[in-house]
């Protein structure tokens, strides 16, 4: 498909793809911001992040079934499943992580890698191999046509609303709460923070659990739009990593910008070259890193 001149930039097609791309961005941002948070403070790329996202989706399936599988089921899942993931990550943190904070970083990295494998098999044990599906809640079934001829699923509209809410909550957590401020300080200078008598280990625990909560939340939000399957963690972990690298390691706002670039380059790339829509987000990553090898925003590393 040849691309016409500048008017294409503002055509209905493009606007519609931007709207659709933004809803995908929401999920990517929620998951990547949690990853970025952990990366900034604990200094480890949490490889198990994708698995927690997957477990969040499976928990959403179970909770939604428990409450009859309708709209009520979805809202309960939205409430309970991320908490479930948070509890799981808290147990993992207290049982395993906290003993390794004084050791090499590599140890922590290996631990998250091991956990990702364990969680993957655990998911298969608990939920089996069959595909699962969480229905779209009643109020979000159907679509709206904001732009003539281009349907936008109502659920995507809901995701568009969720994104800013999560972003603002995160901003409040990091900037307005005591623990957020301490964790920012710990990200910059760990020794100093423990020198003034703050229990760094506890700060790490809180940050880790919040980050994992976000992974779970992403899993719940994606569940109604896809089939919940084993292996859904792999696709996501790659994308989340790239977004975090693109935005600047450990920088939450970087994760937001990275997710935007990733999501939009994909949805707009499809318009330019539908056979190769796949490559555009990755191309974007390459371009960004060529211009700014450290990522777009200031890395906390």
């Amino acid at each position: 498909m040849p691309v016409d001149a500048a008017w294409v930039l503002f055509s209905e097609k493009v606007l519609s793809q931007i709207l659709v791309g933004l809803s995908r961005t929401t999920i990517l941002f929620i998951v990547a911001s949690g990853m970025s948070l952990i990366l900034g403070v604990l200094r480890i790329p949490n490889v198990a992040h994708g698995s927690l996202y997957m477990i969040g989706a499976f928990m959403a399936y179970s909770v939604s079934r428990l409450f009859g599988g309708g709209s009520q089921g979805f809202w309960m899942a939205l409430l309970l499943a991320p908490l479930g993931v948070a509890v799981l990550s808290f147990i993992a943190e207290r049982a395993l992580f906290q003993h390794l904070y004084k050791r090499e970083h590599l140890m922590l990295l290996l631990l998250t890698f091991a956990l990702s494998l364990i969680f993957g098999d655990l998911t298969k044990l608990v939920w089996g191999a069959e595909y699962k599906s969480v229905p779209v809640p009643q109020i979000f079934q159907g679509f709206v046509t904001i732009i003539a001829g281009f349907p936008l699923p109502l659920y995507n509209l809901f995701l568009l609303a969720v994104g800013p809410v999560v972003a603002v909550s995160l901003w409040l957590f990091v900037n307005k709460t005591k623990i957020g401020k301490i964790s920012r300080a710990a990200a910059v200078d760990r020794e100093m923070v423990s020198a003034v008598g703050i229990n760094v280990s506890l700060v790490f625990a809180v940050v880790f659990v919040v980050g994992c909560f976000l992974a779970g939340l992403g899993g719940v939000l994606v569940a109604p739009t896809v089939s919940v399957t084993l292996g859904m963690d792999h696709t996501l972990i790659m994308e989340a990593f790239l977004i975090v690298i693109m935005g600047g390691l450990g920088n939450i706002w970087g994760a937001l910008i990275g997710a935007l670039i990733f999501g939009l380059s994909q949805s707009l790339g499809i318009l330019i070259w539908p056979q190769f829509g796949i490559i555009f987000p990755y191309l974007a990553v390459v371009i960004v890193l060529m211009i700014k090898p450290t990522g777009l925003l200031k890395s906390t590393w």
């Binding site: 069959e130 229905p135 001829g149 349907p151 995507n156 739009t225 089939s227 084993l230 859904m232 318009l271």
Partner: protein
């Protein structure tokens, strides 16, 4: 002195490792199963395994094959061809299995097929869909229990050619399966209806989670009909996005296995209606005593409806057992001779393995998804049966492809 004694002892020990272990006859008929038991493919492969187990247990309860019980060993290839090949080697060299079976991954199937040819071990492919397996790269030792993409394509083209659509769009998973399904449908559709034209294509990466941006782009192009070549978890993902965007209401589309239980059951009553699809097995059709008996048996054992994989596994066990019985002894070459053209009763009627390409002649069902008061998920309506002979490549075509 001591040193040389040790050396001699050591040599004996090492030599002992290479002694042939065939000193006593095997007590069992050994089947080695290599398949993917981690990740999303597991949703399909466990059906094959359970179907196989169901039949094997039944055969064993009746005294086995030629007085030997069927024993099966499973190996997880983690969806990786190199691991799969190593597993197959281990099963043949170390475990000395009599028959190999498995793999949902076509690349793995092709790798193991080469090895099976070199080692002269019969290999039953139970879920891979690449037509290369028993067409271009077919040989005496490989058997195809699943329909290959070329066949699925022909069956769908037979049905689509009778429909009034002219402007087609192709969209699919960007890997071999996606492309070969799409090519299969398109090539034959063009032959059957020269008026059709392709207005565009969309390809996304395997495992794509959100199809909405792709769907909106296809809607913008306004084709008459879309051939959607997805597999695995892409089946459900695409249907969910098609329903959410209203695409399934306004744009007719076809997916191979759209009407399969594995695609429809997980979505409950929320799956889109009116999607065209093909499948090799439906537990509620044909409504015959044989099919009902099989479904009941499977449900009793595993508390779920059998899906197409269950039929592949069940028939593989039966063909292995009957093949050796007909051969009269556990001999691989005689076994192959006796399986060629062998025809057995099955849940979907009497079925044979064709001699020229070792393809199981399963009928194909073409239908449309619809709500069904009998079940809490959608089923296929307007079912047309395409007999195997109508959509299999001819033996001449198979021969030509191997030149």
């Amino acid at each position: 002195m001591k040193k040389s004694l040790l050396l001699v002892l050591g040599l004996f020990l090492v030599g002992g490792l290479f002694l042939p272990v065939t000193s006593h006859a095997a007590q069992t008929l050994k089947v080695g199963i290599v398949d993917t038991y981690t990740g999303p493919a597991t949703a399909f492969t466990l059906d094959v395994l359970d179907g196989f187990k169901l039949a094997a247990d039944k055969i064993n309860a009746k005294g086995g094959v030629l007085g030997k019980k069927i024993e099966y060993l499973t190996r997880d290839d983690k969806f990786k061809p190199d691991i799969g090949l190593n597993m197959a080697k281990e099963l043949v060299m170390k475990e000395e299995v009599d028959v190999l079976m498995g793999t949902i991954n076509s690349a793995t199937a092709l790798a193991i097929s080469d090895f099976a040819k070199a080692e002269k071990v019969p290999f039953f492919v139970t879920f891979s869909k690449s037509d290369k397996i028993n067409m271009q790269k077919g040989h005496r030792y490989v058997f195809m229990m699943s329909e290959h993409s070329e066949m699925a394509g022909r069956a769908a083209a037979e049905a689509l050619a009778k429909k009034p659509y002219l402007k087609y769009w192709i969209a699919g998973d960007d890997y071999e399966y996606g492309h070969s399904i799409a090519n299969g449908v398109w090539k034959h559709l063009q032959k059957l209806n020269p008026k059709v034209k392709l207005v565009g294509e969309t390809w996304w990466k395997v495992g794509e989670a959100d199809f909405t941006p792709y769907i909106t782009q296809i809607i913008a192009a306004k084709p008459d009909f879309v051939i959607v070549a997805t597999g695995g978890s892409g089946m459900v993902n695409f249907q969910k996005a098609a329903k959410a965007t209203g695409f399934s209401k306004n744009m007719p589309f076809y997916q191979h296995t759209a009407i399969e239980t594995s695609t429809l059951a997980p979505q409950g009553k929320n799956a889109p209606e009116g999607v065209f699809g093909t499948a090799n097995y439906l537990f509620y059709y044909p409504n015959t005593a044989e099919n009902k008996a099989f479904v009941e048996e499977f449900q009793k054992a595993y508390k779920r409806y059998p899906k197409v994989g269950a039929l592949y596994g069940y028939l593989t066990a039966n063909f292995i057992a009957e093949g050796f019985k007909k051969a009269g002894k556990i001999d691989k070459e005689k076994f192959i001779d006796s399986v060629e053209g062998l025809s057995l009763a099955s849940p979907v009627g009497k079925i044979a393995i064709r001699a020229c390409d070792h393809q199981l002649e399963l009928p194909m069902y073409f239908g449309v998804t619809k709500l069904d008061p009998k079940y809490d998920f959608l089923t296929a309506g307007n079912i047309q049966v395409v007999p195997a002979i109508d959509y299999m490549p001819t033996c001449d075509e198979v021969k030509a492809s191997r030149k």
